[in-house]
Symmetry: C2
Subunit: 127 residues, 2 copies
């Protein structure tokens, strides 16, 4: 095993509203907020990096219908980000442009059918 | 906590291809196949119902752009499906029509922004 699903990211209009809804559905608590208005919720007492994925409600007004509103973020568990990026590209992942600046500390990729997902930087402990 | 994310379901053109790709990315193994051609992959030795969500590659030719290609499935952990359905509707979830027959053993719902998710039947043990 080389990656774990760490987060699900849902583009939305009203992050507060969906964070409240999904927190109640899943018994999650707020883990943090970003300057862009995104809200991350996850299992209480565990936070980011546990076996259960967190959910990031990400405000977006992106009108592109082909963009996935919900995507997967993965983290390497047995190597660092650079080595895992090489492995993913060799598997058939392609770099994807979703408007990122290029200075982010994550990589935006697409699976063989173009479904966007991100490889985050932090290396997680294997389960 | 009343629900856990049990599966992610990704509509796709070629389930074999994506099952192979995502199995390599995540270190998952095939857990099962359905008559509709969908393939479920998940953590080896754990299967469905563990803390890490499984991934279901579901063949689809649905052209509706508003339909989420990736959606969340949840299972109740501290009550049965009927009681959890009542709770989700009270929270603001709405029944959604994605072409289901009505004889399925799961419920198709939408969150307050219309993102479709499903409440499955099986009650999972709390973590």
């Amino acid at each position: 095993m080389a990656c774990r699903i760490s987060e699900l990211v849902l583009d939305c209009a009203d992050a507060e509203r969906l964070a409240a809804f999904w927190s109640e559905v899943l018994g999650y608590v707020e883990l943090g907020r970003e300057d862009d208005g995104s809200i991350e919720i996850g299992p209480p007492g565990v936070g980011f990096g546990g076996p259960r994925p967190t959910l990031v409600l990400s405000p977006s007004s992106d009108p592109r219908p082909e963009r996935l509103r919900l995507h997967i973020d993965v983290n390497a568990t047995d190597r660092d980000q650079d080595a895992e990026l090489e492995r993913l590209l060799a598997l058939g992942a392609k770099p994807a442009d979703v408007g990122q600046t290029g200075t982010e500390n994550w990589h935006v990729l697409a699976d063989p059918e173009g479904n966007e997902f991100c490889l985050l930087r932090k290396r997680l402990q294997p389960l």
